[in-house]
Amino acid sequence: MKISLVINGKDHEIDIDPGQYLLEVLRDLGYKSVRRSCNSASCGSCTVLLNGAPVLSCSTFAVSVDGQSIETVEGLSEGDRLHPIQEAILEEGGAQCGYCIPGIVLTGEALIRENPEPSDEDIRLALNGNLCRCTGYEPQNRAIKKAAELLRSDRDD
């Protein structure tokens, strides 16, 4: 069957099997930043933004989001310039193996859009579903906070 998706602002007409999950469809289209890890909605590695809100693509039927807007991490940075969350993650040492990072960047981005001044608790709560086995979370939490501050000062300028 055919569905249409707007991915990072670009229109796609896609032929899918009715039972296909969004994760597989996106990866087949070349959006490899969407990572498969648990494949059962329990780790956050496959997070994408659906109409601006984080969802787990491993357990979202592609057909259920027909006609809607998807953001992946590929759409967040332009050219060589990183998004402030990505930059802060590197500065703070929040990425080791990096497998969880696209999901964390997107969940962090959704949080900051909704709450430009998140507290430590807000960050932990919003990203609680994004597991990371490498870092011990602290550098990532600091990075989200730092990026939020930077984005606020950019906006105030």
Partner: protein
């Protein structure tokens, strides 16, 4: 010795960082290989059984099924999955497919199909007839009279005593421990038990294989040990090593879980049988129950001290569970003693002994810490209990008896990995500084023994000291090649395997430091058996120390070549030249940039390729040291244990990249916290792992801890590159004992079996009230 570094010691961002934060296709599953077959494995539902027949005729009739392979189709080659130096100190007790299955999940048949869906369908259509045997699901029963024999095949080798299911045995004694204990004024005698743990790396084990145009087998794999992978594949597949190339792209986490050769042979076999590319992607369930897990260990321990506060004797008798196969069985057991006992080096006598036994449970293997955390739980907590008997502060007892700079322990020589170790004196040890800092941050003197109450909740603090090593001395080799390009940039080729640790970046920092160029001038390429020099891979806390020394030596060689060539080009004495900031200059003011020099030597003057390769094998394995303090709060009504703060200070020598070093410490600490409080593997009655996903196997998330406070204390290790030691593993050693000690401080309840889940705590509290 110069301590003013330009590039090392600086918090540099990871060289691969930009690609990974932007979600670039850098991991094995992102490599699209056209027409790759999907490889799936049929797994045993029984923990112990003989395969009588396998009927896969109907699978072959399904359109899209390309091949089905069973033990009858492949050469029977005994091997060890352990990615260790050769010959491996692990038994050859594994077969790619066998006519016997030894745990629930053991592979029975390989299916290759044109899609995942078809491969799954094919698995369902295969009929296997088993002769079900009695299993051993409790390691305490493995050695019992009349127990089923798990490895009764005639062709396994290197098993200590297969008739009693003993995969490995080790014992050693210094002095007369029994007598030394008799002379002590205080002796504790306790049993500690640590359950297994799952690595839970987020990228599942996976590999893709294909034949290149000349027919060589190419293996792209998520592995920590590409060179060991090539060697073991050559053995199993009976192919010359020269016909195999293993490439490691970025890796989505390993922690030891990818230090065994698990998935690659199945895909490789399909490629060789069919000529087609093949891909194997383990599901989360398979990663959990059919790769490697940590060795469950139990220790009977006796520790004795005299009234003067001196620990005089330690006796540890262990039992370790290697599961169905023995990869890493002897070495993890030895490390549980060799990386813990030297901490308390002032004893008159010490005895360490025990067995590693087979069970019909998933095979244990390498896991960050490699036995040390299990040994330390027993050792550290027993000393904590001894302090209570002696009525002194446990931290004081540990402080008074632990190793310091300039000291040694005879254990370093007696216990290596699988064989004798090497004697070594602690050239760098800032353990006291780690203790002093941690003690202050946690508020030890204010909080210990106070049992501060808040309603039904009570708080306590605990401490633990740890050490680890830096590589496996006299065994593990790392090599590096550095070559200069005509623009004055350098290619650094290393076999060392960056699995997310940042080792590519750290090794490039070492090169940049020696060659006095900015980090951007070093282009790193790592872990490709065709292109990079040999390295054992990412394990045993070795990369910075072993591979780092190789990089430093190779770069020093190239620097000498540069100065010689500059000397002939500039017509000045070599001794009058120096290389500073990428410029060779003479005391008389004449100078040339590396870029100019490289261009000349490439095209016009004394043409030659400037390059060098160096290899390094450690003469010693200098330990990093660490002091950890935990503060917990226990709700006496519900048993709920909250971790308020975990404070760890570590001495890793000079941290060549403080951000990445801190990341190792914080990350290992969090894995230790998970193991201490949340992560609990549960098996069904038939030995099937029930906790094979992230819902049932709970790794810590962001709401599961209070504070994590880590810090580095600098020392200078003279044998390390620019003063460095290791930091990759040590952080996982202490959370279990520190948290156990803190729970005791809070509640007076001593938990001697980890993990310490809140429900277990509640039962302990309830049993006190009865």
């Amino acid at each position: 010795m110069t301590r003013d570094f330009e590039v090392v010691g600086k918090p540099k961002k990871k060289l691969d960082g930009k690609a990974i934060v932007r979600g670039k296709p850098v991991y094995t599953p992102d490599y699209d290989v056209p027409n790759a077959l999907t490889v799936k494995l049929l797994r045993s539902p029984h923990p112990n059984a003989m395969i009588k027949t396998i009927d896969f005729q109907s699978a072959l009739t399904i359109q899209g099924v390309v091949c089905v392979l069973t033990h009858e189709d492949i050469d029977r080659v005994p091997y060890s999955r352990a990615g260790q130096g050769y010959p491996e100190p692990s038994p050859y007790d594994s077969y790619l497919l066998d006519n016997k299955v030894r745990y629930v999940g053991d592979p029975v048949a390989i299916v290759a199909a044109t899609s995942e869906k078809i491969a799954r369908q094919a698995l369902k259509s295969i009929k296997v007839e088993y002769e079900v045997l009695d299993p051993i699901l409790d390691m305490e029963k493995s050695m019992a009279e009349g127990a089923p024999r798990i490895h009764d095949e005639a062709d396994c080798s290197g098993v200590f005593d297969s008739s009693r299911n003993i995969a490995a045995h080790f014992e050693m004694e210094i002095g007369e421990t029994e007598k030394a204990l008799d002379r002590c004024d205080f002796v504790v005698s306790k049993t500690y038990h640590v359950d297994t743990q799952l690595h839970a790396a987020l990228e599942p084990h996976n590999a893709v294989t294909y034949l290149d145009p000349s027919g060589r087998l190419i293996v792209i794999s998520s592995t920590q040990v590409p060179f060991h992978c090539r060697r073991i594949l050559a053995r199993i597949l009976k192919k010359p090593m020269s016909e195999i190339r293993v490439i490691k792209p970025r890796i989505g986490g390993g922690f030891g879980g990818k230090q065994s050769i698990i998935v690659e042979p199945y895909a490789a076999l399909v490629t060789l049988k069919t000529g087609q590319p093949a891909r194997i992607n383990y599901t989360r369930e398979e990663v959990s129950m059919a790769t490697n897990i940590r060795h469950e260990m139990k220790y009977d321990i006796r520790v004795g001290a005299t009234k003067d506060g001196r620990i005089r004797a330690i006796w540890m008798k262990g039992l370790s569970n290697t599961g169905a196969y023995g990869e890493h069985c002897l070495t993890t057991f030895m490390v549980s003693g060799s990386k813990t006992l030297p901490l308390y080096n002032k004893v008159d006598a010490v005895r360490f002994e025990g067995d590693v036994v087979y069970t019909n449970l998933p095979p244990a293997g390498a896991y960050r810490g490699y036995g040390a955390p299990q040994g330390l739980f027993a050792l550290d907590c027993a000393i904590d209990e001894l302090a209570l008997e002696m009525n002194i502060d446990p931290l004081k007892l540990k402080e008074m008896n632990s190793i310091r700079e300039g000291e040694t322990s005879p254990i370093f020589k007696i216990m290596g990995e699988g064989r004798e170790g090497v004697p070594q004196i602690m050239n760098s040890c800032k353990l006291q500084e780690c203790i002093d800092l941690g003690k202050k941050v946690i508020g030890w003197d204010k909080k210990r023994g106070k049992r501060l109450e808040n309603g039904t909740r009570v708080r306590g603090v605990g401490c633990a000291l740890a050490m680890q090593g830096s590589g496996i001395p006299k065994i593990d080799m790392g090599a590096a090649t550095i070559k200069m390009n005509e623009d004055g940039s350098f290619n650094l080729l290393v076999g060392a395997t960056d699995i997310g640790t940042g080792s590519d970046t750290i090794l490039a920092q070492i090169a940049a430091e020696v060659l006095t160029v900015p980090l951007e001038k070093i282009i790193v390429y790592s872990s490709d058996t065709d292109i990079t020099p040999f390295d054992v891979g990412a394990y045993a806390s070795s990369t910075t120390y072993v591979s780092g020394n190789a990089v430093k030596m190779a770069c020093e060689d190239v620097k000498t070549q540069i100065l010689s060539l500059a000397s002939s080009y500039l017509e000045r004495e070599k001794g009058d030249l120096e290389l500073v900031d990428g410029v060779v200059s003479c005391s008389d003011g004449l100078s040339i940039t590396l870029e100019e020099l490289a261009t000349k030597h490439t095209y016009t003057f004394n043409q030659r390729q400037i390059a060098a390769t160096a290899s390094y094998v450690g003469e010693e394995s200098p330990p990093p040291f660490m002091a950890t303090f935990a503060e917990v709060e226990v709700d006496m009504d519900t048993g709920k244990i909250d971790l308020i703060n975990l404070v760890s200070y570590a001495d890793c020598g000079v941290a060549l990249n403080p951000i990445q070093a801190m990341g190792q410490l914080e990350g290992a600490s969090m894995q230790g916290i998970g193991w201490a409080l949340y992560e609990d593997v549960i098996y069904a009655k038939n030995g099937r792992m029930l906790t094979n996903d992230f819902f049932t196997y709970k790794i810590p998330s962001r709401m599961d801890y209070g504070k994590l406070t880590c810090g580095l204390v600098e020392s200078y290790e003279p044998t390390g590159p620019f003063g460095a030691k290791s930091i990759g593993e040590i952080g996982i050693d202490t959370p279990i004992p520190a948290i156990a000690n803190a729970i005791f401080d809070a509640t007076g309840i001593r938990l001697r079996q980890a993990p310490f889940k809140s429900e277990k705590m509640l039962f302990e509290i309830l049993s006190l009230e009865v």
